[in-house]
Amino acid sequence: MSTPRPWAGIGDALARVGAHGLFLLQILAALPASLRHYRETVRQIWFTGAMSLVIIMTCGLFVGMVLGLQLYYVLSIFGGTAALGTVVSLSLYRELGPVVTALLFAGRAGTSITAEIGLMRATDQLAAMEMMAVDPLAYVAAPRFIAGVVAMPLLACVFNALGIFGAHLVGVSWLGLDNGTFWSNMTSSVDVWKDVVNGVWKSVVFGAVVALIAVFQGYTTAPTSEGVAYATTRTVVFSSIVVLAVDFVMTAFLM
């Protein structure tokens, strides 16, 4: 108790960051071995990606519709409703698509990854795998990590597409904006590389971040039911914080 608390807290935080980094290296080292378990990877892509489609599509649609409504109101003050498509698509591609998808992905897929691996840890399945000379990093951790990296950008693209559709629904079908104006303004000011592809890069990184945190929390959970509960909570909290922080850094570098 003689050490001052703040220093211990900083030490803990540093140790946690370092542990995540080392775990990432371990997963990357296990990637070649996990190629043999590609079926497991496919199953994880199905589970984390395809099964998240419903929530991603619904949320994308509503986010697009809300953006359409709000921006239509704001732009109408300046007489610039023609720019609705541009503003909606740029904000979706650059920020909202990757970030909101990552947050939803952490809640939908990250938690279940953590809980699943955490229960494997709690019921000693991971130890059993090691006994059978099956590397749990290659069979359990790496496929889920790959699945996160693969699924996130695809989900973000679906989110963006549904968001544009939602904004079109509100702006054109409901509020009576001209269809041609909506599309031509969008196509004239959205750039493939600067806007769309940068957003995809962001979502790839977010996918890696969320999957890494989820797998790490599950893998290192305390082997009790309480430990799994805490680990699941930490997955959502940490991935939300890290995603938003990384988003700021990436925006500063990619712009």
């Binding site: 079926r39 693969v150 699924a151 695809l154 599309w183």
Partner: protein, 175 residues
Amino acid sequence: MAQRRSYQIGSGLFILLGFAALAYLATQTTSIANFSQGPSYLLKARFTNVGQLKLRAPVKIAGVRIGSVESIEVDPQRLDAKVTLSVDRRFRDIPDDSSAAIFTSGLLGDQYIGIQPGGSPDMFKDGDEFVLTQSSMQLEDLIGKFLVNGSPASKPAANDEPAAQAQPASPPKKS
């Protein structure tokens, strides 16, 4: 086994859907959608000032897009801007006494090159140069001319100056 196969099919469909969404976003909602994919030919035009004209800015006749700006560079000898326009080959019959001007779409919008068709019987060929061009209208110049002509804008500034100098020497002084 059947279950595993359905996973694989489902994952395949998911990946396909994701890439379809990406392809849709990339091709239908971005500037790629505006690019004419057909064959094109090049025309040159010289301007004393291109203003905010950007690469890939539209080239229009009668307000309709027929091509884009391919390159903008300074001619080292004549010290003016040499702009290369890439025009869709469908619009081959542009008279060679047509004029090119840089316009702004809207008050503060992007700039584009508008071509005013002439009446010559001869048409532009690949690599030809516009004889008649009109540079972009600079909003700053217009405002500058407007300000210089009229208002007593300089007088308040002259009055402020001694007051600002006096202030550090005698702070309590109030007028």
